[in-house]
Symmetry: C2
Subunit: 147 residues, 2 copies
């Protein structure tokens, strides 16, 4: 298992790639974000988003899944207190393949809980042309191997 | 339909209430955030979260659904560019009933797009005891009725 000691400032993790289907965009939107441009191709084309576009929360959830598969599921993770920013820079459209990356911006051990490390990270989703779609900065708590 | 002109600074919207079941916590986690404390009651109890706890992205998605039902689905919404902060203040546990609220912090018309209004808002989820679970500050774009 990866622990706090295994992460270093400036380190970049490849989070792999993910194909976004029209079906899953609509399924997520029906459950959580039933706005027309997330539910219907034509409504999407006629909106500022320019096509059937994933809910921003769906994009965040996809990125979460990519994080889990790439490193969190083999890490001694302890959750998160939140994010300093979430930027939906460009719409995530049906049929796109996204790639993800994480950068460790800084790290420190909690002063109250010496068994808990705090990683400040940037996570991004980009399209095949390398354009950023989603940009997040926030924290991950992770267990210290040898407190 | 509600337009930009129908929102005013300081206005507070009640977003209703939402019961969070263990089944939906596990279903969301299996798809998007398969960490042990989101998948399994015992793993949750043994974690810092203290019980089977919803993924933070699940909490955000629940709040999104409450927003859609309370006002967005009768608003001329144009999406969002993101959030300035997302704070997961306390774990959302299975069996809790949450209440939601939105406050309009400020409003202005886009300088580039006079047909688009920009609402800066705070959205919160609280438990039955009134403790804040999730706190978000971000923007909603909404059409101007008479640009």
């Amino acid at each position: 298992m990866l622990h706090y000691e295994d992460f270093s400032e400036g380190q970049i993790f490849d989070l792999g790639s993910y194909y976004v289907s029209a079906e899953e965009i609509v399924a997520f939107a029906r459950e959580f974000d039933p706005q027309p441009f997330h539910l219907n191709e034509e409504a999407g084309r006629n909106s500022v988003l320019g096509g059937l576009a994933a809910s921003g929360w769906h994009s965040c959830s996809i990125l979460m899944r990519m994080m889990a598969d790439a490193y969190l599921n083999r890490s001694a993770g302890m959750g998160s207190s939140g994010l300093d920013e979430v930027k939906w820079l460009r719409p995530v459209l049906a049929g796109e393949t996204l790639s993800g990356a994480m950068e460790v911006l800084s790290k420190r051990v909690s002063s109250k809980r010496p068994e808990m490390g705090i990683l400040k990270c940037r996570w991004q989703l980009r399209n095949a042309q390398g354009e950023a779609k989603l940009d997040q900065v926030g924290v991950n708590f992770i267990r210290v191997r040898a407190p």
